[in-house]
């Protein structure tokens, strides 16, 4: 490189070369810009619709709006399950949030709301497992103070929002826990393995029906989720609402049950700490008025989520509070089944005047069958009233097991009723075909006497016995039980829109008369009186063996789990039956002493709530005050008598029933 000599030729040469190359360079840049323009045309003009959609996906978010869950009300509109507001803290993880950030935010939240370490760990796990942009409920049931505190701080807590949801509430807690069931958090089993998943299931804090009516009618109660269209920024925060784009939710339908809250509540009350079930039907329509299982539990606890120890306590308690005994506890029917045996004999043409003689013992087939006492010679009416076993041993042998089973089937034994919509245990109704099928063995004649008094392999649930009793009481229809009155205001078919029962009404009247005398002069004469003047109850006691006896029979003096199960079936009023029921007291001892008084108490509520019945009660009640004093007045809300007559087995009641004379306390097997 020398000292530059600037000659024109040199200048021209370099300038010319530069000019040409600069021209080409400019041309190339021009091509580059054309290429960029082409790319813009491709993105903005040709693929515009695709990117517009993606942009909308960014900009708009549809926030699921869970509809209010349908109410569950009783026959009079008393709310059995409703919803209450619930302040919740939600957390939504966006695309950029790392696990470390999540933990940091949860730590900061713990300073604002009550979060212990275990809860914190669970929340962090929940958030990490949830799909991105799916909100997770961190805290529910916050206080108003916590709710407002979070709302104020939300801008500095990315992904955190406080909102108001709804949570299920059961105002009566225990009384309806079995029949209504409860809702609880969605678990894996609740999500269908195939087919579309209702997006509402993924909503934070959404609860699905797990038991009872809540489960059976979950789709109806759930409704259809709507969506709120919102404009969000990159952090998922709502910038603007767009009400025009909202999708309305469809609220869940109200389900009206045929139950009566007053009767049901009273039923739970009279059971005290006893275990058992009470079922009542309107024996004109088939409506279930009471379907109660005791002891019970507070369904609201399940909505919140039980802790391990709480659940253990419920599951391990030997009176089995989680079990719906009204539908699934099956025991021998005991002497209540004698109504079926009597009807079989009558239907087969056996004269009601035919007598058998009871000497206290009946030898048959190498066995000696006992009666609790020597009843002497009695006809069928007397045998039902005194519940003589030996009479029915012989009657059963006369008619045979198959005929008895055939009759029992007509009355609903060994059946499940789909109109209840809750799973039932259908029990066992033995006959020769059953024996052959199950044991591959023929029916031994020695099994028939036990069957004749409702023991042996026979197993029935309280609902079946109630249906049986209501069909006897109705006297005409093969009544079907109905639990759900209407769904969303639309009535369901009634239980009396059914064919007649193929049994002679005269024979049913005969059994009703005998059952009436059970209460006036028979096994339940001191324990099943209503005290409602002319309104009388009819019934039949029953005691089911809880185990095979060795030595003494299972009475109240024995250990609870060894005692017999007490049954009582009843209907009232005697002269024009309206209400039929069955009561089971598990390990209650005698049907007459444990079950019959409870049945009378529950029945009284139903009768006193019925204005026509109350009009008939002209004589004042033995209790000084309440309803009877004003018979023509309107039905009192919660018509349970204000001073209920004493309930046996409840030591806190100051006036225990008078001790029964030994002769009356005896109840045939």
């Amino acid at each position: 490189m020398s000292n530059p000599q600037i000659f024109f030729n040199e200048v021209n040469e370099r300038q010319g070369e530069f000019g040409r190359r600069a021209f080409v360079f400019g041309g190339l840049l021009g091509l580059g810009v054309v290429a960029l323009g082409g790319r813009l045309a491709q993105l903005q003009v040709i693929e515009n619709s695709r990117y517009t959609k993606l942009s909308d996906n960014n900009q708009f978010d549809f926030r699921l709006q869970p509809p209010p869950r349908g109410l569950i009300v009783d026959r009079n509109g008393v709310v059995l399950a409703s919803n209450r507001p619930d302040f919740r803290l939600l957390f939504m993880r966006d695309e950029h949030m790392k696990p470390k950030d999540v933990e940091e935010i949860v730590d900061r939240l713990a300073k604002l709301v009550d979060l212990d370490d275990a809860h914190k760990r669970r929340v962090i796990a929940d958030i990490k497992n949830a799909p991105r942009r799916a909100p997770v409920a961190v805290v529910e049931d916050m206080s108003w103070e916590e709710f407002s505190r979070i709302n104020v701080r939300a801008p500095e807590l990315p992904g955190v929002t406080a909102d108001m949801g709804e949570v299920r509430v059961y105002p009566f807690g225990g009384a309806f826990a079995h029949v209504i069931g409860y809702v609880a958090k969605v678990s894996g089993n609740d999500v269908p393995k195939v087919g579309p998943i209702d997006p509402i299931l993924l909503n934070p804090g959404f609860r699905i029906g797990k038991q009872g009516v809540e489960k059976s009618f979950d789709p109806v109660l759930r409704g259809k989720a709507g969506a709120r269209k919102v404009e969000v920024d990159v952090k998922g925060r709502v910038v603007r609402e767009d009400p025009a784009g909202d999708i309305a939710s469809v609220p869940g339908s109200t389900i009206q049950l045929t139950l009566d809250a007053d009767i049901q509540n009273r039923a739970l009350e009279v059971f005290g700490e006893e275990s058992g079930a009470a079922v009542m039907m309107d024996c004109r329509t088939g409506d279930i008025l009471c379907l109660m299982s005791a002891p019970s539990f507070d369904a609201n606890r399940f909505v919140k989520g039980l802790t391990g120890p709480e659940y253990q306590a419920l599951a391990q308690y030997d009176r089995k509070p989680l079990f719906n005994k009204a539908l699934t506890a099956t025991f021998p029917a005991g002497s209540t089944f004698k109504t079926m045996v009597a009807l079989t004999a009558l239907e087969m043409g056996v004269s009601p005047d035919k007598t058998h003689t009871c000497g206290g013992a009946f030898p048959f087939g190498g066995h000696v069958f006992h009666c609790d006492k020597s009843h002497g010679t009695l006809n069928m009416h007397q045998a039902i009233v005194t519940s003589c076993d030996i009479f029915f041993y012989q009657t059963a042998l006369e008619v045979g097991p198959d005929k008895i089973a055939e009759t029992a089937r007509k009355f609903g034994i060994n059946q499940t009723f789909p109109e209840i919509h809750i799973p039932q245990n259908k029990g066992t109704l033995p006959d020769t075909a059953w024996k052959e099928r199950v044991f591959h063995e023929r029916w031994w004649p020695g099994e028939t006497p036990s069957f004749g008094i409702g023991q042996g392999a026979l197993a029935v649930n309280p609902l079946q016995l109630c249906v049986m009793c209501s069909r006897i009481a109705n006297g005409k229809k093969q009544l079907m039980p109905r639990l759900v009155k209407s769904i969303g205001g639309k009535d369901l078919p009634r239980g009396d829109e059914v064919p007649d029962i193929p049994v002679d009404p005269e024979h049913l009247a005969f059994v009703r008369k005998a059952m009436a005398d059970v209460v006036t002069s028979g096994t339940a004469q001191l324990t099943a009186k209503l005290g409602l003047g002319p309104i009388m109850m009819a019934g039949k006691t029953g005691t089911a063996q809880a185990h095979t006896y060795k030595g003494a029979r299972g009475t109240v003096h024995m250990e609870w789990a060894m005692r017999d199960h007490a049954w009582f079936i009843a209907f009232a009023p005697v002269d024009e039956p309206r209400y039929a029921m069955s009561v089971l007291v598990e390990h209650g001892g005698w049907g007459a002493s444990a079950a019959a008084p409870r049945a009378a108490e529950i029945m009284k509520v139903a009768l006193l709530k019925d204005p026509e019945i109350r009009a008939r009660i002209v004589t004042p009640l033995p209790n000084p005050e309440p309803v009877g004093a004003n018979p023509d007045g309107p039905p009192v809300e919660g018509a349970a008598p204000e001073a209920p007559t004493p309930i046996p087995g409840q030591p806190q009641q100051p006036t225990a029933p008078p001790p029964l004379p030994p002769a009356q306390q005896i109840e045939p097997q």
Partner: protein
Amino acid sequence: MTVSALTRPGERDRLIVKLANIDWTFTLLLTVIAGIGGVMLYSIAGGSWLPWAAPHLIRFGGCVLLMILLAMVDLRVWFALAYPVYAIGIVLLAAVDVVGHSALGAQRWLDLGPVRIQPSEIIKIGLVLALARFYHSLSGRDARLSWWLLIPAGLIALPMALVAKQPDLGTALLIGATGGVMMILAGLSLRLVAVGLAGLVAVVPAAFMFVLKGYQKARLLTFLDPEADKSGSGYHIMQSKIALGSGGLLGKGFGLGTQSQLNFLPEKQTDFIFSSLAEEFGFVGSVAVLLLYMGVIFMALRIASVSHSHFGRMAASGVTATFALCLMINGAMVMGLAPVVGVPMPLLSWGGTVMITVMVGFGLVQSVRVHRYSEVTSGRGAIL
């Protein structure tokens, strides 16, 4: 007041004549682009002059004055300062490596009390000046193919290596490409250019394997398949394409670009300002802005070609090359045609340092125009 090659030298040196010889159309074009930048910055701030729009416009106003001031500077002064500026740039780059201020995992800033200097910006101007001065003194034949060319190659490679080490891959490539373009414009043998390009193709995979840092590799891989990682590195490209594509023919309207307004678009005020613009003003608006840029480039290249001095030609074309490459790289990046490298859109993007560099460069270009008839020599006639 027009000037020509025949105007007396004393006449040309009068300030009023010099001012009249500034290319005011060119200045207007720059102002329009910067103004559009201001409008966009106003929009994406949610209709607010702060924090970006007002400072951007004020800064541009200052830069226009700076440009006019620099246009008055005699080309021989630029010539004399070429190597010193380059040397200062190199020294500062080296210093940044030792005591630099770290930002986003890269050491790019030099903190000098109240002033923060980004030496990579100084070297952009320094390199253009140094190469222009070198080629000014080199014969056309030597510029085509000679051992002398190792000197410009070294002048380019040294800052490139220092900037790449920061690491700032985008700027390093920009410096390299600018230098390369200047060498070609100076008359480099086209055969050598072809060989060089072939060599580059061979070297790139190796460089990818051994030279690049993890995040740089990720960016490149993401560019090749942006859909693969929507929430990570691919997010930038994807969101930018959504912004562009959803703009459509006429755009969503001023202030209504949801991608930028709702922050889905990352770096919306700097690297991705063009995406915001294309979203709100659509294909028509973005192509119009590209045409404005093209106008700037063509006018600057014209200024370069009419210069009587080789130094002027080379300097003006070097500045133009830097500007044009910035535009191309940023444009290709926001449209998903190039990997995400931190190269802003000149004049449109928020950012003071880059704007000063660009406008100092255009001050040089204006100076080349004002002094287009001046002869520049390194010996006699040099004023410094």
